[in-house]
Symmetry: C2
Subunit: 248 residues, 2 copies
């Protein structure tokens, strides 16, 4: 058996999220279906670095799976892409040793969150950026607020109340806000993220940007360790999983 | 009655083309449905500068319609956008005199055709650019071929054999090929285009780029006035209607 690591890009628009669910079209289910086909109907399950929600996109999701088949990495990529729908693409394949685990070996993740300040929302960005409409967030205030998230914190206030994980301490190593033309792009990098954590941070930075909150509120909200103290989660379709890092 | 001119942008992916057809989701049908709703169920028909095929996009389609309603242009735009699906947007509205006609008053049109040379087709470009894959067209050869289309010609060889229009003489005023990162963009401007004319020209420029045809073949093909002498039409999803010009 060989362990295969693959980097996956997908447009999450037409998926009910990453993880397989009965009777739902999910990214994992189309990948596993392609794997089963390549293995002549023998069941093969892929393991991802983590799930993403319905509508969330990826440039650099990482998966692994084990296979008895003997194909070079490029052929793996091409064979899977022939079987996959065009909104899911395998962009890279490599062999890894059996200690590698897409989820447990991950040492960091990078997400991007995208807003658009175009006057009228373009039909071409409707699923790929959150339209700011009449809102003109103050980027400097957002940058000031962002500083409170950097470092190691208990993120209980900034994840879904449905988060199952007991340990809610995470380290955010980088959090930047950059304007590119009509786009406002938040990039966040850390050792790992709780369920809805990136979207909750994005939602609160937006709230600071438009004056609903003060930058310093972020500090108090983190210290409160109470999801109820924090406002709305930002919409799914602005979020992209960019990269997963490993020590290997 | 007032005549309203509106500029429309749409993502053609989920539409069976521009023009209304029974039991099909078309761009015109969703626009006319919104107009009927705004006019309290009185039938209002819009007239466009021309139809576009299934999968073809627009940044600057132009329509007109007549209305007894008294709304300022900005309110027209907002009222229609509230009723329209998000893949169709009214980007501009102005009042015009009753001699204005979206189709018959048009003096020129600009189309864009987009190819992508990314190694692996991105899930995000699958409906918005034609993936070149292993093909590496020679842009200089394409530019040389493009020169033969500029000017006034009979384009019988370069339109669909189903074209109903009798007069197939058209003037191409500009035809450029530009590389932007991993994209190859053809822009064509002229007084008007026959059915499938832009896609047939794009298909033949590609054929020249990859060596299937010589640039000089374009001249012979034009002179032959025979669609059967010309190769395949390029796919719909690379095509965008950018702009329609009027004398007013």
């Amino acid at each position: 058996m060989k362990r295969v690591k693959a980097k996956v890009s997908y447009d999450g628009t037409d998926y009910a999220g990453y993880q397989s669910q009965p009777n739902m079209r999910t990214v994992q289910s189309v990948i596993d279906k392609a794997l089963v086909k390549l293995h002549k109907d023998k069941t093969v399950y892929s393991v991802a670095s983590g799930r993403t929600d319905a509508g969330v996109h990826a440039f650099g999701q990482v998966i692994h799976f084990d296979t008895p088949l003997d194909l070079p990495p490029d052929r793996w990529r091409m064979a899977l892409n022939v079987l996959l729908p065009k909104d899911v693409r395998i962009v890279e394949v490599e062999f890894v040793d059996e200690e590698f685990h897409a989820r447990y070996s991950a040492t960091g993740k990078t997400y991007m969150y995208k807003w658009s300040s175009s006057e009228i929302q373009s039909p071409f960005e409707r699923n790929y950026a959150v339209h700011l409409g009449k809102w003109k967030p103050d980027i400097e205030r957002m940058r000031e607020a962002a500083q409170y998230f950097i470092g190691t914190h208990d993120f209980t206030s900034f994840c879904s109340s449905k988060t199952a994980t007991a340990n809610k301490v995470r380290t955010v190593r980088e959090l930047t806000l950059v304007e590119q033309g009509e786009e406002l792009i938040m990039t966040i990098e850390g050792d790992g993220f709780l369920y809805n954590m990136v979207r909750t941070i994005a939602g609160m930075l937006f709230a600071v940007g438009i004056g609903w909150n003060e930058p310093l509120d972020m500090k108090e909200m983190l210290e409160a360790k109470d999801r109820k103290k924090v406002g709305k989660t930002a919409p799914a379709h602005g979020l992209y999983l960019m990269n997963v890092t490993y020590n290997h």
